[in-house]
Amino acid sequence: MTATIENPNYAYPARSAGRRGPNLEKAGWIFMRASGVVLIVLIFGHLAFNLLWTPGGIRAVDFGFVGGKLAQPFWQWWDVLMLWLAILHGSNGMRTIVNDYVHKPMIRTVALWAIGIAAAVLIILGTLITFTFNPCPEGADLSLLPSFCAEL
């Protein structure tokens, strides 16, 4: 991490014009901090609820448990917000790291696109699933489903 190149990469001599101009660094910097603060609440809440406060912790996490949570709008919104912020925060952080260490223009472009696409896919996928999720899928083994499915 700290053992990096001896000499700056002269493929980019002192701040070439190509890397100048308007940018979103400031917004990104503020976002990292704002999202970080919110994420603390969301992630710590998430971890505490799932792993500490639910009796049995990780053992109790199964379809029934998650389905039960995601049936409630409160947890739906919690998880979606967490998803968006964490992915955006993490991806922006990864973008910084790629910019720092990947100097070959080709590889850098590929890596940045990969981060972007991964972020988009996961955010769309996660959001869709959270809101279109059916906790009591038809024909499933009742014992695996949240307890309220039995009442249906």
Partner: protein, 272 residues
């Protein structure tokens, strides 16, 4: 030269006597100490001569040193008594010209401000060039990229109108940017910055420090211009608050604090 008898008709207030006496006792105690002794120190220097070497190499030297001497003295002793081909920069020898920033035992320092007594001399002392600027020879690096960044932030007062005498400034306004006026452009900070090492593109703490010196000068009218320059992909936002710069600065400048103030000025405007 006529040395008349000792007189005691002082007109200016004398120092508090107890303090003077205490100082005297201290000094007297110090006087009693015997002659200082020199002792051997191993200095391992990372040498590189582009005309001969493919790669830098570590070379050991044994030198006799006194505890109160500086690493610069050790380098001089090597150069003057053992191997005159050793190349390094230096000038003032007391930490004001910024010539001899180098990495000593893994940390950036000025060789002329690093005292032998502050090192564990039972182990060798490692000396190598600062990191992140092109290595030219031995302890000498190419400083041009560093000065390029400095020049880019428009490091000069920009003020319209020509006052008849001086531009006025209150003591408090002057104090506001005092810390960053101390910079001697030694590059110890910039070349200690992990972000700078990655690609050498980051403006670096020294450039930001010097921008700060003008941004917070009440006489200057181009603060916004400098803020815009540093609101760059390679500008202040790249700082990850690792504090290596602050720790390395031989002038004791609170570099990271200055960077934070510049960031804040970008968000909320300059508050003088």
């Amino acid at each position: 030269m006529a040395a008349t008898q000792i007189t005691d008709n002082d007109t200016t207030p004398e120092p508090v006597d107890s303090a003077a006496e205490a100082a005297d006792r201290q000094v007297q105690a110090a006087d009693a100490i015997e002659e200082p002794q020199s002792f051997p120190v191993t200095v391992i220097v990372r040498r590189y001569d582009p005309e001969i070497d493919d790669e830098p190499r570590w070379v050991d030297y044994d030198v006799q040193m006194f505890a109160t001497e500086r690493i610069l003295d050790a380098l001089h002793r090597i150069k003057w008594e053992q191997d005159p081909s050793l190349a390094f920069r230096r000038s003032c020898a007391h930490g004001v010209c910024g010539s001899d920033a180098m990495r000593i035992n893994g940390k950036n320092r000025l060789a002329c401000k690093a005292l032998v007594k502050d090192f564990d001399t039972s182990k060798p002392i490692y000396v190598e060039a600062i990191k992140g600027l092109p290595l030219e020879k031995d302890l000498i690096v190419d400083m041009e990229p560093f000065f390029d960044s400095f020049r880019e932030i428009q490091p000069f007062l920009q003020a319209t109108g020509k006052p008849e005498k001086e531009r006025h400034q209150t003591i408090a306004q002057r104090e506001r940017f005092d810390d960053t006026t101390k910079c001697i452009l030694c590059a110890a900070c910039t070349t200690s910055c992990p972000v700078f090492w990655t690609d050498g593109q980051y403006f670096g703490p020294a450039a930001i420090v010097n921008a700060h010196r003008f941004i917070f000068d009440s006489r200057d009218e181009a603060s916004q211009v400098r803020l815009d320059i540093l609101n760059d992909r390679e500008g202040v936002w790249r700082c990850r608050t690792t504090f290596n710069c602050t720790d390395a600065c031989p002038r004791g400048i609170q570099v990271t604090k200055a960077i934070a103030e510049v960031k804040q000025a970008m968000m909320t405007g300059v508050k003088l």
